[in-house]
């Protein structure tokens, strides 16, 4: 085959691989063409071909990189989530209620952590399902690298005596192994201190802009799921404080210390960005003009974008 035809043939192949999403194969073929052309002097439109191939190589490499960066477990639409659950509802038909549990666990395994935790939280109310639901909630948090939060949750459960004595050992053993395998030095037995462990913040105080307001979804209570916007009354580095007027009773009940807010939008005079925060305190103000209003403090843990 003469060189011109060979190049044409290779090019056709590379383009097909590209269109099928076989990007590595396409890239390799483009590179062979590049090699062929470079090693030959007397070829028509040599510079033009080289330029075009270089562009193809660049574009294909970019596509590859982009695909590599795709999050492995994105949130999917609701109909897909219910299907994930259904796929597992035949799990162990003997055990009562286990299909709901099987479904929630399937969601967790598919990486639909938020939805899974939401459902597992509901299952905590059933005596028969509590232990498994709790284990899976802890698993979900650890999978998302919120081991600190998992620890504080576990401590809260123990403090509130969520588990009967015969289950305490089981969950303790499970959780110990879980955080061991996650690495890091987490102590789950500092129960005496009874402090909730706050997640570490990833940010330095001086990295943070002045924030004028925040918007987030209420995590619990009567207004669960509602979006609210609050003005910041005081900020010290990564700690921000806001006032909730006493008449907003429902709002006050919908957020508590220890809540993790996974999507906060921060408004600053110069930019809007989003991130995660941890409710570090909520107190009734006992003096001054704002007496009986509530002061809420959030620690910013992470800035996402």
């Amino acid at each position: 085959m003469d060189l011109g035809n060979k190049i044409k043939k290779y090019y056709k192949e590379a383009e097909l691989y590209n269109s099928h999403g076989l990007l590595n194969e396409a890239l390799e073929k483009y590179k062979s063409i590049d090699g062929l052309v470079k090693s030959t002097r007397n070829i028509r439109n040599r510079e033009g071909i080289l330029k075009q191939i270089a562009l193809k190589i660049e574009l294909t490499s970019k596509k590859l990189q982009k695909l590599d960066g795709v999050k492995a477990t994105p949130e999917v639409a609701e109909d897909a989530q219910s299907l994930m659950k259904e796929m597992y509802t035949f799990d162990d038909p003997e055990a009562k209620g286990s299909s709901a549990l099987g479904g929630a666990i399937a969601l967790a395994k598919f990486g639909q952590y938020d939805k899974a935790i939401e459902e597992l939280n509901r299952l905590l109310e059933y005596d028969k399902l509590r232990l498994e639901a709790a284990k899976n909630i802890l698993w979900c948090w650890v999978q998302q690298n919120y081991t600190d939060y998992a620890v504080s949750l576990y401590q809260k459960w123990r403090k509130n005596k969520l588990f009967p004595p015969e289950e305490v050992d089981s969950i303790q053993a499970y959780f110990t192994e879980l955080i061991d395998s996650a690495g890091g030095d987490h102590e789950i037995d500092e129960l005496e201190s009874q402090r909730t462990v706050e997640p570490d913040s990833e940010i330095d105080d001086d990295e943070i802009l002045d924030i004028s307001a925040v918007r987030f979804v209420l995590p619990r209570g009567p207004k669960e799921g509602e979006k609210i916007e609050l003005e910041i009354s005081f900020q010290s580095g990564k700690y921000i404080r806001m006032i909730i007027p006493r008449k907003e009773k429902d709002l006050i009940d919908s957020i508590n210390p220890g809540d993790l807010l996974k999507e906060i939008v921060f408004y600053s005079p110069v930019a809007i960005f989003s991130g995660e925060g941890y409710v570090s305190s909520k107190n009734e103000i006992d003096a001054g003009p704002k007496k009986a209003d509530y002061s809420l403090e959030i620690k910013i843990i992470k800035i996402v974008s």
């Binding site: 043939k9 056709k12 192949e13 097909l16 691989y17 099928h20 999403g21 076989l22 990007l23 194969e25 596509k63 982009k66 695909l67 795709v70 492995a72 994105p74 999917v76 639409a77 109909d79 897909a80 299907l83 994930m84 796929m87 597992y88 035949f90 399937a106 395994k109 598919f110």
Partner: protein, 204 residues
Amino acid sequence: MAVINLKNRQIECKLVFYGPGRSGKTTNLEYIHKAFKKQVAGKMISIDTEGDRTLFFDFLPLGLGKIKGCDVRVQLYTVPGQVKYKATRQLVLKGVDGIVFVADSLAVRREKNMVSLKDLHENLLKMGLSIRKIPLVLQYNKRDLEKQGLPVMSLKKMDHELNRQLKVPSFTASALSGEGVGNTLNQALKLTLQSLQNEFKWAQ
């Protein structure tokens, strides 16, 4: 794990399309969705990322009507072919009754076909199933590319490399135009229902 209700005379079974990334599993389902409208019993659900790669699975429910006095429903699933999604493939395989292995005829995908078949074997083993016992058919897809002068493996070679030991029914196909898709599906269903018959004696 099929759901078989002998009293109401209903069967529901699960067929999974397996194979390496980009071999045409989703394209098979899309064609079935389009061409077998009468049998389609619900929405097709596809979850993919950029570049159309399947992320978790595709899903298509079919209703085949009455077969030997039983109302037969089939759930078709595809797995994500990319190597890194092994765990997801395991999840999707759970409860499988029959498998269509979609191999890519492109010569550049020769090894990927073999790796994927091995991956299927391992995943089945983990669930206590054997690739030699489960209803299985092979599909050699993208045959149309041969006519376009692209490097495609010969059927003999593919059969030798993928089916020498398994010796299961194999079909040529061009899923994009639909050629061979119906044949593949029919045979896979036939084997699956037969194997359920042997196990549960559902037919009258």
